[in-house]
Symmetry: C2
Subunit: 397 residues, 2 copies
Amino acid sequence: MIQIAILGFGTVGTGVAKVIAENPRQIERKLGEPLEVKSILVRHFKDGPFRQLMTDDFSKIEEDGDIRVVVEAIGGVEAAYDYTRRALSAGKHVVTANKQLVAEKGCELLALARKKNVSYLFEASVGGGIPILHPLTQCMAANRIDEVYGILNGTTNYILTRMVRAGASFADALAEAQKKGYAEADPTADVDGIDAGRKICILADLAFGRQVDPERVPMAGIRDLSLRDVKIARRAGYRVKLLGRAARTAGGGHTAYVAPHLISEDSPLAGVEDVFNAVVVKGNATGEVMFYGRGAGELPTASACVADVMEVLQQSPRREEIGWSPESGGFTDPLELESRHYFRIRGSLSDAVGAFGQAEVLDEDGGTAFLTDAMTGREALERSGALEVLACLRVLA
Amino acid sequence: MIQIAILGFGTVGTGVAKVIAENPRQIERKLGEPLEVKSILVRHFKDGPFRQLMTDDFSKIEEDGDIRVVVEAIGGVEAAYDYTRRALSAGKHVVTANKQLVAEKGCELLALARKKNVSYLFEASVGGGIPILHPLTQCMAANRIDEVYGILNGTTNYILTRMVRAGASFADALAEAQKKGYAEADPTADVDGIDAGRKICILADLAFGRQVDPERVPMAGIRDLSLRDVKIARRAGYRVKLLGRAARTAGGGHTAYVAPHLISEDSPLAGVEDVFNAVVVKGNATGEVMFYGRGAGELPTASACVADVMEVLQQSPRREEIGWSPESGGFTDPLELESRHYFRIRGSLSDAVGAFGQAEVLDEDGGTAFLTDAMTGREALERSGALEVLACLRVLA
């Protein structure tokens, strides 16, 4: 019998208890013994089947030598950060889906875990139940990772899908997502690219082995995206998707950002609709591989946490080095990345050609929508300085 | 300095040496020390940069205490099986991409590895460079796996893509694939579903934790597939893909087979074209996740082997239990699986309705092409017994 504790009993915490209760045979077959939830930390006691496991005193968990793994399902930084440090310091493995904490403090918490000879795992923090961090850091370990990009937020992908399929405006599609429970009452973290931003930071940290500070990563969302541009792009054979992207840059550095992109309808990402997520990893030996599935939800996310719990219990004394160094050097402004750009301007094709030398026109109805040649974001910004820009999006090569 | 040996210096063996030579920094960062190829077993010495590492005497490798890991890249069963047993018995970890050996002897070799306290890893045996076995057995370990299916053979997928896009016949598309180097001069293993069959056996072994003997797994290829059916399916919103499929069956058993299927163009598999592979895993907590990429090729496959080498070196004493039992009970004939079926018959719609009660007609030009309701393969076979069947394919639900 192996005993664990769950901190927080919201969506993820409840899901962890459910997955352990529903799949005991699968879990015991691999662990060799049963897995049991011994304690659940809550702020307010709630009735139900887990009532007798609840405590509001973290020190009871911290001091319980029988508890070998703690699942942190509180979310946010403050209490989650404090309890994670205390649990690791007490020699317990910690597993989490908390992307904010991992993006901001992951490297420090990994170092503490290493010092205490335990593990800190967070597969569920990116892509929910889709295996991605593990494949990236282990299965692709013999690659130099050159780029990682993907649809990292299901809420915004649902909104974009509705805009494309039903011709809905952003505001209407958001209202629909909220009604279906896909978007929170305050949709800021999703809609403004912050949730995707935390995930691309974690992916960049692990892909490049350097600390990528979230505050240096430009995060743009889809709030200002016009249905007009979505439609023009579609007619030209592109889909508009909110992408998190991390890439090596020409000078040996690396960058990361979140922004809506035009992607070709031939791209495997183009077919990723509704609340689905997908992440593409480009390795110098493997080429491009893609991981696809539901990026959120109670059971998918919880099952990734439980798999991490099983992994730390099977590995002794702790998981191999995943290579996330505290060094944060080499971070480059994503404006240095080259790509084609989509512009819609209040002006004519000759204005566009005047600024860019060349332009592939997509639409000329009351303004001009066009694609530029490949150039850095900085050059696109400079060249468009004299134009009245109504929309500007990168095109994923 | 960690030293390894490579057995066989064809595509995979050469790739392993190249990946280690090309990505030394990535590898050393995770291992903490450099990785070096000390010996390469060959039958015939060849000139080139690796000439001085070559030997034709396996016992030199077997007896070399400095060699901790052996990469078996010989292929087939006989010599590969013998050397793998001897290497494991000598206390060396073994890593391979050899799907035939793993499908036939994997469970036995895993047991030998366990006894000798070393690891036998084979991530590259399915999906080449696409991480799939590792995510299936570890990241999804908290799931009951209900089904695994996918496009497991790039050669046949290339041929099907050419049939759809260029309207080429099977014979012409095969000739084109051979010209491009995607198909062997003797294409039997690819075209007749044997390669995909070995891979679905390995996936079934790991998904269900039981030994699935390849000789009990029906393997149908695409040799008899008519361009006519591909075109009719396409007009009706389906793609024809050669799928390996393993699923739990109603009575608590499981099954596996390889056959061409109709899949809806809305399925994420429908967009998998050319030589790309994709595998969908359905877990009871995670839902469906898909893994996509190039399923073959020198560097992708080799990089998966090198990642396995790195993993065995980082885990001490050996990898966790992946749960492949030698028990082979519970295997059920795939004819017991229910699905809709596509039929093309020499006969009229009333013949079809007479046999099946109901039929969704797709084409009536010189015969009748139709879809049945969902029923077991056995029932479809029985009901069609009196019809003159020109084509019969399952529809993936």
